[in-house]
């Protein structure tokens, strides 16, 4: 067994790697879900509420049923229901989707806290991890490689979504609704129905992200659980240019950033941990400033999206 101190500053990159894998999963699922929703031409800022609400439901179902996988399913369905609420309200004429998102964020968080009070104390069964680090004798690396199935699911899902959006009929219809509602209508599709499905799928995925929070890492239910990860993930989609693969890399980056502060403290860099905590936000803003342009809309941005118009 290697002595921890012999690793020296290598502790930091290993921690960032481990953090990237551990912390990124909620970002990944929320951003993939939001990516789908936005590609259909609508923005759902309410995924923070979805994340929190589904985390609570997932935890509750796992606690009552004893099966964390049932919890994941319940969380995903909760997300789909909240997605449907968003889509139905936004389907009414003249309703602003950004504002409805903010409202659903408030509602989702409120409902989760309201119904989740009795779940703060109990201990539910949580999801297992798969050990990919059996070959190494460095305990830090070994632990960083204990990976949850949901993360792997996300790893597979990202390229699948890229392919599905590009090459399937379903993807084409979805993108058409996002690029030009009139064109989709001309093709005989109901834009509202396409967006309803996209938002429900988005909510479904965000719900899985929520279940990861409560059922794997940190793996409990309390009111500070998300602390803004859902809303960060929505920002991340723009950062990732509505591309599922870039969402994946961006999620890893944000996850790693969360591990950076504590890891630096463990090697005696103690200055400014509040600022390190805000690093992902500063980074996102900086990249948006560099890559946006007033002359043209963003590369990859769905034309129907209210925030890019």
């Amino acid at each position: 067994m290697a002595d921890a101190s012999s690793l020296g500053f290598w502790v930091v990159p290993i921690a960032v790697l481990g953090g990237a894998v551990r912390v990124s999963t909620p970002f990944l699922f929320v951003s993939l879900g939001e990516c789908l929703t936005e590609r259909s031409g609508r923005i759902n800022l309410g995924l923070e509420g979805t994340l929190v609400m589904s985390a609570m439901v997932g935890y509750g179902v796992s606690y009552v049923s004893g099966s964390p996988w049932l919890g994941v399913l319940a969380a995903a369905l909760t997300g789909a229901v909240l997605g449907a609420v968003h889509a139905v309200i936004c389907g009414l004429p003249k309703v602003n989707d950004i504002a409805v998102g903010i409202a659903l964020m408030l509602f989702g968080i409120g409902l989760a806290f309201f119904l989740g009070k009795p779940l703060i104390a109990p201990k539910a069964n949580i999801l297992p991890a798969i050990d990919f680090g059996w070959w190494t004798t460095i305990p830090q690396l070994h632990d960083a490689l204990k990976i949850n199935v949901l993360f792997l699911l996300g790893v597979v899902l990202a390229p699948v979504l890229v392919w599905a959006l590009r090459s399937t009929r379903w993807g084409l219809v979805l993108r058409t609704a996002g690029e030009s509602a009139d064109a989709a209508r001309a093709m005989g599709y109901s834009v509202n129905r396409i967006r309803l499905r996209a938002t429900m799928t988005g909510g479904f995925l965000a719900g899985i992200g929520g279940s990861f929070l409560s059922l794997y890492y940190p793996g409990n239910w309390n009111e500070g659980l998300s602390s803004g990860q859902g809303i960060t993930a929505v920002a991340l989609v723009i950062f990732a240019r509505w591309n599922p693969m870039l969402c994946f890399w961006a999620s890893l980056l944000f996850g790693g950033a969360a591990a950076l502060g504590p890891a630096l403290q463990s090697v005696q860099i103690t200055w400014g941990y509040h600022l390190f905590g805000a690093a992902p936000y500063i980074l996102t803003l900086a990249i948006m400033i560099v890559t946006c342009s007033p002359k043209r809309t963003l590369v990859g941005a769905p034309a129907e999206l209210s925030i890019t118009k």
């Binding site: 009414l92 504002a99 903010i102 509602f107 803004g228 509040h274 500063i282 803003l285 342009s293």
Partner: protein
């Protein structure tokens, strides 16, 4: 051609029968709020709470006694100011959600100004604090406006990110460079001093922030609806391309509206320091900025309507305690109720123009 259509539409809306359209914007949200209250009553009914008892208790807690009114108005005070941070840029069609960050930066800079001038006459200190707070909040949101105008960065996302950044700066400074070493277990800056506190409105027992809020909302209302500047802003909000075609200075409009909105939230931060906290610390980020967004949307971005809506939400906040203590409901009941009201009012947007009663008079 696009412009002709738009201008006619806007002109029609403005010049048409004021009474009918006013009635419409009052009646529809009121119906939505009542529907939300009924829905929430049904919701708590599922948990064995009698809705009649619920609303009697809420009325007591919010408006039932003189003390309840004090409680409600105290909570409403910062909300009017932070709501304007969303409502003013909204005239241009922008969705700014950075009130929290502007409030934090305003409070922080107001504190810095107050501490720099300690020893000066209180009026001077207070004025300097107000100016510093407004300037800091103003520039903070104007920065997001500039990013939007010059770089095409979406303002909703940038103001959201700026909130997190502002809070990190606040924590970094109050636990570091600006910390009063004597602030033991609650890291804070030095106190701005009792003599520099702006205090309560005599006879009312509510701090001056509520008056600042009302005045700011009035000024904003006049600016938006009774000046050429406001008219230009609303044209630009209706159709940006048209505004450019007729030569409106879109950039100037964006920067000014964002600056003014930020000023307002920054002033809320200054009031939070000078009327409540005496010193800056982590408690400055108490979520008023986020509730302000709710107020602005419920007020349909009308600065004047922000006043009653802020009082309504202040009242819900004030009665939240009674719901916990008397009906044994969780504190999150307030969030659920706010969420339901918010959703109902937004969904009611679809009802505009559907009722003949409001239309017939306008023709």
């Amino acid at each position: 051609m696009t412009f002709a259509v738009t201008s006619k539409a806007i002109g029609g809306r403005l010049i048409g029968d004021r009474f009918a359209s006013t009635a419409e914007v009052v009646v529809i949200p009121v119906i939505a709020v009542i529907a939300a209250l009924i829905a929430f009553g049904g919701f708590v009914g599922l948990f064995g709470v009698n809705p009649v008892e619920l609303y009697t208790d809420m009325y007591m807690g919010a408006f039932g006694t003189f003390f309840s009114w004090q409680n409600t108005l105290t909570r409403a005070a910062p909300l009017i100011l932070t709501a304007l941070c969303t409502a003013l840029p909204a005239q241009l069609g922008m969705v700014v959600i950075g009130g929290e960050g502007a409030l934090v930066m305003g409070g922080l800079c107001a504190t810095a100004a107050g501490l720099a001038l300690l020893g000066a006459p209180p009026v001077v200190v207070q004025l300097a604090m107000a100016v510093a707070g407004m300037a800091a909040g103003g520039f903070w949101i104007a920065f997001a406006g500039a990013l939007r105008h010059y770089r095409g960065v979406n303002e909703t996302i940038s103001t959201l990110l700026l909130n997190y950044i502002a809070i990190a700066i606040l924590n970094h400074l109050v636990e570091g460079a600006m910390r009063d070493p004597a602030s033991l277990n609650k890291p804070s800056t030095h106190s701005i001093g009792d003599q520099n506190m702006i205090g309560l409105i005599p006879g009312l027992g509510v701090h001056w922030g509520i008056l600042f809020g009302v005045v700011a909302a009035l000024i904003a209302y006049i600016l938006v609806f009774h000046t050429v500047f406001g008219f230009s802003a609303r044209i630009a909000g209706g159709n940006l391309r048209a505004a450019r075609v007729v030569g409106l200075p879109v950039g100037k409009l964006i920067l000014t509206m964002c600056f003014l909105g930020g000023c307002s939230a920054g002033l809320a931060g200054m009031v939070e320091i000078a009327a409540v906290q005496e010193r800056a610390n982590a408690n400055l980020a108490a979520g008023y900025g986020y509730t302000g967004i709710l107020v602005a949307f419920l007020a349909r971005q009308n600065p004047l309507a922000c006043i009653p809506v802020a009082i309504l939400l202040g009242g819900i906040g004030a009665s939240g305690g009674l719901l916990q203590r008397r009906l044994d409901l969780p504190d999150a009941s307030v969030l659920v109720l706010q969420g339901i009201i918010f959703i109902a009012v937004l969904a009611s947007d679809t009802l505009y123009g559907r009722f003949k009663i409001f239309q017939s008079k306008a023709v």
